[in-house]
């Protein structure tokens, strides 16, 4: 069994906005709310064109078990339902709402009744929460487990991406909600341990959480080295509990639930006040930003509005959802703030430049920095030679695309990109193998029948 330390990289911190308490931006004139803001099925719109909506009113219901409802972040009128190409490259429906600027709160807002684990999970579902650290996994699905299986609840306050401080601000500004959420989890899951993992470049958060958590039995603060990707789910589980999540298994299979600190605070706030997830604290930073800060923006606010509000130094050449290590670059500034958007990073021309790859010099840095001990250079070679069997043996399916390999590659090989393609190649190959095996079995059955 693996016992060593996981690798990672010393990414620059650039936490310029750590002292910026979130500022509320002016209400946007129009919000564009995508239906696919979570892993799993997109939400289904329940409003029609010209419907009037208020803040916190349901506009789309969960589109299945693996889904989450969506609520309006502004008061106003539904203008239209559009088809757009989302940030993942797929078609998506969006609800476009014209704001009336009033921000009138929906009359139906009232705290949910939570009495046991099932009603707690239902409340989480109604709250519309998805993994706010970036993954967008529907939180209610994660929490819908047998409490007896839960040994450790790990609150993710690592925030290991450069620039981003929105989770930091949650720990500073919403410590009460966070602790209330921890108490609820403790009550309904009776875990032995409830650990909040925080990178040690945020000593103020460690202090606040230690102070605030005194009243919660089993609550611990784990101050972890600031080594990216400390906040990766499997990395955090290993570094707080020593458990290794095996290939193809979930954290709950090793008795762990990992929940992002902002996700937990949002859930707690909903249970306290009845206001679901309608707005986000977003760190706006990067070399194109004149005055980096944290902004409270309704879900659906176009990125352009945030950039206008904080001010630009120059024309942004590359704009990211999330941090520079795992962030997704957007094709247009019309793209909206989503539930799982925790930062908008805008780069100037120099930082936006794509590096020119040169030949691999076999230095081994990609191997030395991979948290999961994969061999990216070997994966690249196997992919280029179209060898899915080799990709299988190299376990490319374990790759979480954290970016450590590409970051540290002196030849600037596009290793993450190749890993993504290699995963797709392996999936296709596995599906084909499965199909072929099924066909063969069916044929043999037929023969036997004859």
């Amino acid at each position: 069994m693996f016992k060593g330390k996981l690798h990672g990289i010393h990414a620059p911190h650039r936490k310029n906005t750590v002292d910026c308490a979130p500022a509320r931006m002016p209400v946007p004139a129009v919000i564009t709310v995508p239906m696919s803001m979570n892993i799993g099925a997109p939400a289904k719109p329940v409003v029609k064109v010209n419907d009037t909506v208020k803040v916190g009113q349901l506009i789309a219901e969960a589109g299945g078990f693996m889904s989450a409802p969506i609520y309006s972040g502004v008061s106003g009128k539904v203008k239209r339902l559009d088809e757009i190409v989302g940030s993942n490259g797929r078609f998506d429906t969006v609800i476009v709402i014209e704001s009336d600027g009033e921000q009138a709160v929906w009359e139906g807002i009232k705290p949910p009744v939570v009495t046991d684990k099932d009603s707690f999970v239902e409340a989480v579902r109604q709250c519309g929460c998805v993994g706010l650290g970036g993954a967008g996994f529907p939180t209610s699905v994660k929490l819908n487990v047998d409490p007896d299986r839960v040994h450790a609840i790990i609150i993710n306050g690592a925030e290991c991406e450069p620039y981003i401080t929105s989770d930091t601000r949650t720990m500073i500004d919403s410590a009460d909600d966070l602790i209330y959420g921890a108490q609820l989890l403790q009550k309904y899951y009776t875990a032995d341990r409830i650990v909040i993992g925080i990178e040690d470049n945020k000593p103020q958060c460690v202090k606040i959480m230690e102070e605030a958590g005194k009243g919660v039995p089993g609550f611990e603060v784990a101050s972890l080295p600031a080594l990216y990707p400390q906040g990766g789910e499997k990395v955090l589980i290993y570094n707080t509990t020593g458990e290794i999540v095996p290939e193809g298994k979930l954290p709950i299979d090793v008795g762990a639930i990992v929940i992002n600190c902002t996700t937990l605070a949002v859930i707690a706030k909903y249970i306290r006040t009845g206001m679901p997830l309608v707005e986000k604290v977003v760190t706006v930073d990067g070399s194109a930003i004149a005055n980096p800060q944290n902004i409270i923006a309704p879900v659906g606010t176009p990125i352009q509005n945030l950039l206008d509000f904080v001010g630009l130094k120059c024309e942004p050449k590359k704009v990211l959802y999330g941090g520079p290590m795992m962030g997704i670059s957007v094709p247009s500034l019309e793209a909206p703030i989503m539930k799982n958007t925790n930062a908008i990073i805008a780069f100037d021309e120099k930082d936006a430049e794509d590096p020119v790859p040169s030949a691999c010099i076999r230095c081994g840095r990609c191997v030395a920095h991979c948290p999961f001990n994969l061999m990216p250079a070997a994966i690249e070679s196997a992919y280029n030679h179209k060898e899915p069997e080799k990709l299988k043996a190299l376990k490319v399916n374990l790759c979480m695309e954290c970016g450590c390999c590409s970051f540290s590659c002196p030849a600037r090989r596009p290793l993450v990109q190749v890993n993504k393609l290699a995963k797709a190649m392996l999936n296709k190959y596995n599906a084909e193998q499965k199909e072929a095996a099924e066909k063969k079995a069916a044929k043999e059955k037929e023969k036997e029948a004859v």
């Binding site: 590359k318 795992m326 094709p331 990073i345 040169s358 010099i361 081994g364 994969l374 376990k395 970051f407």
Partner: protein, 308 residues
């Protein structure tokens, strides 16, 4: 879609190190050895070094021009190969032979196999071995270094092996006042380079320590004057600068230790029982050939991976 915006796959930031900065760091790390070569063997040492570097870079440029490949001389790897080769030659080497060596290193050993990252053996080492066989006379004609009262130009290893002459003091050995290839003699200069490479994160300690440590322990066990054995010959320059070549050595710490251990054992084998007084070049070349196997044995185990 805004045509002015860049859309690309993560990550969007990179570490400062590039192939060029790594090679530049190796050149900087070799600088003390260059100074030492001039101090002990005169200005002619610099001439040989300049010729080797110039020819290596020129050969790389010309080969890539002729074969219509992208020019890679700016990554400085050809300059590193040229300089390493020069430092492994005796100072009185005829210049045309040095030119031949640089040509072999870059064109035959490096470019014929696909250029940077593709060669199976270290170009400078291989070229030196070829020169040793082709020009055995001039390749073993050692000049008497400055700051010694030696009358014979025999290298310490040759003396240990039974040749006429006296051994320098250990201090002379450490500083570099002894017979040998012009860049290999000063352990002090090479150690300064080693420290710089470690500080810059260009190489790790594993291969050099395993290599030198193995030679030290084995020669001590065999009663072969271990301190002289370690500081003599090309052990320091080989262990620090040649056995750590990325392309021809394993990437993992475990692999590096095995690689260094193998180099050390073969070196001792050749020095003690072989016909040649020195075996560092041969040992690295042999281990280069074994490298793919070591890489295969020392593959990393994926975290959480389940064997099917």
């Amino acid at each position: 879609m805004n045509k002015n915006m860049v859309v690309s796959v993560n990550p969007h930031i990179y570490a400062a190190q590039t192939t060029q900065t790594i090679m530049r760091d190796v050149l900087i790390a070799l600088f003390p050895a260059v100074i030492a070569s001039i101090v002990f063997f005169g200005i002619k040492a610099l001439l040989v070094e300049v010729v080797c570097v110039a020819v290596a870079v020129l050969c790389e440029w010309a080969f890539e021009k002729i074969t219509h490949r992208p020019c890679t001389i700016m990554d400085l790897s050809a300059a590193v190969t040229g300089l390493l080769l020069a430092l492994n030659l005796p100072v009185d080497i005829p210049l045309w032979q040095a030119v031949f060596g640089a040509f072999v290193a870059i064109v035959v050993v490096k470019q014929f196999f696909g250029g940077i990252g593709q060669n199976f053996a270290n170009p400078a080492i291989t070229a030196r071995v070829i020169m040793l066989v082709a020009f055995s006379g001039t390749m073993t004609a050692w000049a008497i270094p400055a700051f010694t009262d030696a009358t014979s130009s025999a290298t310490p290893l040759a003396v240990i092996a039974g040749a006429e002459g006296q051994l320098p003091t250990l201090a002379q050995m450490f500083l570099g006042a002894r017979g040998g290839s012009m860049g290999e003699t000063s352990c002090l200069a090479l150690l300064i380079g080693f420290a710089y490479l470690l500080y810059r994160g260009v190489i790790s300690w594993h291969t050099p320590v395993a290599f030198i440590g193995t030679v030290l322990v084995c020669t001590a066990l065999l009663g072969q004057q271990p301190l002289y054995q370690v500081m003599a010959g090309g052990l320091f320059i080989g262990a620090i600068f040649m056995a750590t070549d990325y392309t021809t050595s394993p990437p993992t710490p475990k692999g590096k230790l095995i690689f260094g251990l193998g180099c050390g054992l073969i070196t001792v084998l050749i020095r003690v029982w072989g016909n040649y007084p020195e075996g560092v070049s041969f040992s690295i070349l042999l281990m280069n050939i074994l490298n793919p196997y070591i890489c295969e044995w020392t593959k990393t185990k994926p975290f959480g991976g389940v064997q099917a």
